[in-house]
Subunit: 400 residues, 2 copies
C-alpha cells in the first residue's frame, strides 16, 4: 500500500515518470495554428523590414539640405516625384531635391531622412518648402531594424495567440511545426450514474465528470474521447482501461464510489501496470490514483465532480503541459479575500471562490455540486501548515 503524498510530490513524481512521453510534432497551416503549442523555436530567415522604409507620410530628403531651416526661413527643395507603395523608386535623391514617400514606402537612394508632411508646404511652382530640420535617420526604419536573420521570434512551447500568428504571417511562416494533440480517453465508473440525457431514477444521478473532463481537455489542448459509463465491475473496468491504454496517449478514469470499488481501482491498475500514487494530501481530491500502464499515464480521479476538476487542474493539466512541451502554467490571479477562511490541518485544501468587484468570495464548503460549479470562478489553495487566511489577505486564485 502506498502512502498519501503531497500535491507537489505527486506532481513531481508524474512529471519525472512521464518526462519521456512528450508528443511528436506535426505540421499545420498558419490559419489552423491558433492555440497550438510550438514544437521548435521560430528563427527569422529574413531582415524585417526587408528594405529601408519611411515611418511617416512626408518627403525624403538629404538631411543636410534641411539644417538651419525654420518656418521663417524654409529650405526650398525640388520635388522630383512620389514613391508608390510596394515599389522601389527608380530615381535618386540628390542635393536640393526631395520626393514624397507615404508611411511604409521604400526610401529612395540618396535620401537619409524624412520630413513629416506637417512641416512642409507645397509652393505654387511645385517645389517643397521645408520648415523644420531633420536629422539623418529621422523618420526611417532601416532594413533589419526590427528583426535580423537568426533572431528568435517565438520560443518552442509557446501556445500561439492571435498576435503570434500575426508575427508568423509577417515572417512568412505559413506551415508550423506544433506538438500533436495528445489523445486522451475519459471513462466514468459508477453504478449510480446515468448519461446526462437520461432521466435518473431514484438513487441515480447523471454523470458529470465525463462532460466536464472532455471540455477541460479540449481547453488544455488535447483531443479527448469519451468512453461512456463503465459499470462498477472489476472485469469490465479492467477491460475498458486496457483497451483505452492501447488506443490513447493517456487515460482518465473517475468515480467508483460503490462499496469496495476504491480497492478495485488500485487492483485493476496494479494488474495492468504499476501504481505510482494512491492518495493525495489534498481536500477534496484525496482518493486519486495514478499508474504507469505500458509507459502511459492512467489517472483515476475522485468521483465528486468538484474534486475531480480540482485534481484535473492541479495534477493532470501540469502533466499534460509537460507532455505537450508547453511552458505555460494555469491562469492565476491575485485577489483580496472577502471573508476569513479557517485553517485546516495536515493537508492542502482547495477553496472555491467567486470573483466579485475584485474580491475573492469563498463559497461555503456545504455548497452542493451545482452551486459550487456554477458559482465558482476559480479556487485557491490553503497550505497544509496555514493558520487560516484572513479577510483582506491576498490569495492566488487559479481561474477556471
Amino acid at each position: 500500500m502506498l502512502h498519501v503524498k503531497s500535491l507537489d510530490e505527486s506532481k513531481m513524481l508524474l512529471k519525472k515518470r512521464f518526462s519521456e512521453r512528450c508528443m511528436s510534432c506535426e505540421t499545420v497551416p498558419l490559419e489552423k495554428s491558433i492555440d497550438r503549442i510550438l514544437f521548435a523555436d521560430i528563427l527569422s530567415k529574413e531582415h524585417v523590414p526587408g528594405f529601408d522604409r519611411s515611418s511617416v507620410d512626408g518627403y525624403a530628403v538629404m538631411a543636410s539640405d534641411t539644417f538651419g531651416c525654420s518656418e521663417s526661413l524654409p529650405a526650398l527643395l525640388k520635388n522630383i516625384g512620389a514613391v508608390e507603395m510596394g515599389e522601389i523608386p527608380a530615381f535618386t535623391i540628390t542635393k536640393g531635391c526631395c520626393c514624397y514617400v507615404p508611411t511604409g514606402g521604400a526610401m529612395p537612394r540618396g535620401a537619409d531622412a524624412m520630413v513629416m508632411i506637417e512641416y512642409t508646404e507645397t509652393l505654387p511652382d511645385g517645389s517643397i518648402a521645408v520648415e523644420k530640420p531633420s536629422a539623418p535617420g529621422a523618420g526611417i526604419i532601416y532594413k533589419g531594424d526590427d528583426i535580423k536573420p537568426g533572431d528568435i521570434i517565438l520560443k518552442a512551447g509557446k501556445r500561439l495567440l492571435p498576435k503570434d500568428i500575426g508575427a508568423l504571417a509577417a515572417m512568412g511562416e505559413t506551415a508550423l511545426s506544433v506538438y500533436k494533440k495528445p489523445r486522451i480517453a475519459v471513462l466514468s465508473t459508477g453504478d449510480e450514474l446515468v448519461l446526462p440525457d437520461q432521466a435518473p431514477s431514484m438513487g441515480q444521478i447523471r454523470d458529470v465528470n465525463q462532460s466536464l473532463l472532455l471540455a477541460a481537455l479540449v481547453k488544455t489542448g488535447a483531443e479527448p474521447v469519451g468512453y461512456g459509463i463503465i459499470k462498477d465491475m472489476k472485469g469490465k473496468i479492467k477491460n475498458a482501461v486496457a483497451e483505452a491504454v492501447d488506443d490513447y496517449d493517456m487515460v482518465l478514469v473517475s468515480g467508483g464510489t460503490s462499496v469496495g470499488i476504491k480497492d478495485v481501482a488500485e487492483e485493476v491498475l496494479g494488474e495492468l501496470g504499476e501504481v505510482l500514487l494512491h492518495g493525495i494530501a489534498l481536500k477534496p481530491g484525496k482518493p486519486t490514483i495514478a499508474a504507469d500502464v505500458h509507459g502511459k499515464p492512467v489517472i483515476w480521479l475522485p468521483g465528486h465532480p468538484a474534486a475531480a476538476y480540482f485534481v484535473y487542474m492541479l495534477l493532470v493539466e501540469p502533466l499534460l503541459f509537460g507532455i505537450l512541451g508547453c511552458t505555460e502554467g494555469p491562469r492565476k490571479e491575485s485577489f483580496t479575500l472577502m471573508r476569513t477562511v479557517p485553517s485546516n490541518h495536515g493537508r492542502e485544501e482547495c477553496m472555491p471562490v467567486s470573483i466579485s468587484g475584485g474580491h475573492a468570495v469563498p463559497i461555503p464548503i456545504k455548497s452542493g455540486l451545482i452551486t459550487t460549479l456554477s458559482r465558482a470562478d476559480g479556487f485557491f489553495i490553503i497550505n497544509r501548515d496555514s493558520e487560516g487566511i484572513k479577510q483582506g489577505d491576498r490569495v492566488n486564485v487559479i481561474l477556471f
Copy 2:
C-alpha cells in the same frame, strides 16, 4: 467631415447604433458548447439532489439512538443491510437498527442521520458499535439542498467554461440555446501587400492583418472568412465591401496606406452606407473608420498591425460582445509598471508591455512590428489627461 472622437464616444456610438443587431440563437449539443455564449438563462427543472443522499461513508441511523454514546459506552445497533449505489433501499430503519450507506447513496426511510464509518466498529456478531453521537441531519444532503426547480443555474450571456458544462450535464441540459456565431468578412487593402506564403519583392511586405484578425475573431467567438488582399483601387474595394456586407454580419477592412487611400475609404463607405466615425483620439489607431452599411457594421482598421489589433480589442471586440449578447469584457489584470512612461497629450495612448515577474515592462515605442507583436503580452491605456505614469504605479493591462 466628421471630427475625431474619443475611444469611449466611439464605443458608445457603435453600441447604440448596432444594439438591435444581436445574433439569433441556435441549438447545440452539450459536448459542442464549450466557449459558446448562452442565449437564455438556464433554470433548473429539478431538485438536485433528487433524493436524500449520504455525504459520507458510514451507517444510516435514527439520531436519537446515538445520543449519549461514546467510545467507552458505544451505542449498539443491529445492521440490517447495505444500500447499493444507484438503488433505493427497500428496508426502513427503525429504532435500534442501522444500515451501511456509501457516499452518495440514498438514505433509507426512517433514518435521520449518518454516522461516519470512522466512528463505528463492527462487532463479532455483526452488530455495529457507534462511538460518537450524530445530530439529526448530520451527513445527509437533502433533496433540493443544492438546487430547487426554478433556480437560475447559469445566466444568458455567459461564455461556457468546462465547469459550466459540468453543471449543465448534472441538470440534464444536453441541448443548449446559444447565440449563433457572427460571420465576419476580413479584407486587407494595400498595393504593397503580398500573401504570407509569398516572397515579397523589394518595397513589398507580407499581409499580417488578415491572419491576425482571423485568429482574433475565432478567439472572440465569431466565424471569420478571409477575403484576401484587395488592390488599392476604389472600384475594387467598393465591390468587395458591398459583396461582403451582403454575405456577412460584419465586415472588417484594414490598411490602405497609399497616397489618397484614406479618402477612398471614407468615400467608399459613404457611398455604400453611412459613415459614423472617422478618426479616434487614440495612439496608435487614429485612422479608424466605422460605417453602417445596410444596418451592418463595417469597420476600417489602421494598416499597421499593432494599431489594427489595439483597435480590434478596444472597439471591435466590445461591439462583437454586444452582438453576441456576451456579458464579459476583455481579460484585464493589474501589474506594477517597471519603468516610467512619459505623458502624452490630447489622445489616449496604447502602451504595449511584456509581463515579467509580475511586472509590466513597457516595450519601447520605436520597436518594430514583429518585436512588438512577439514580445508584448498585452497593453495598457494612458489616459489623455495623464501626466505620465511612474515606475511602481499599478496599471490595468489588457492581456492578449
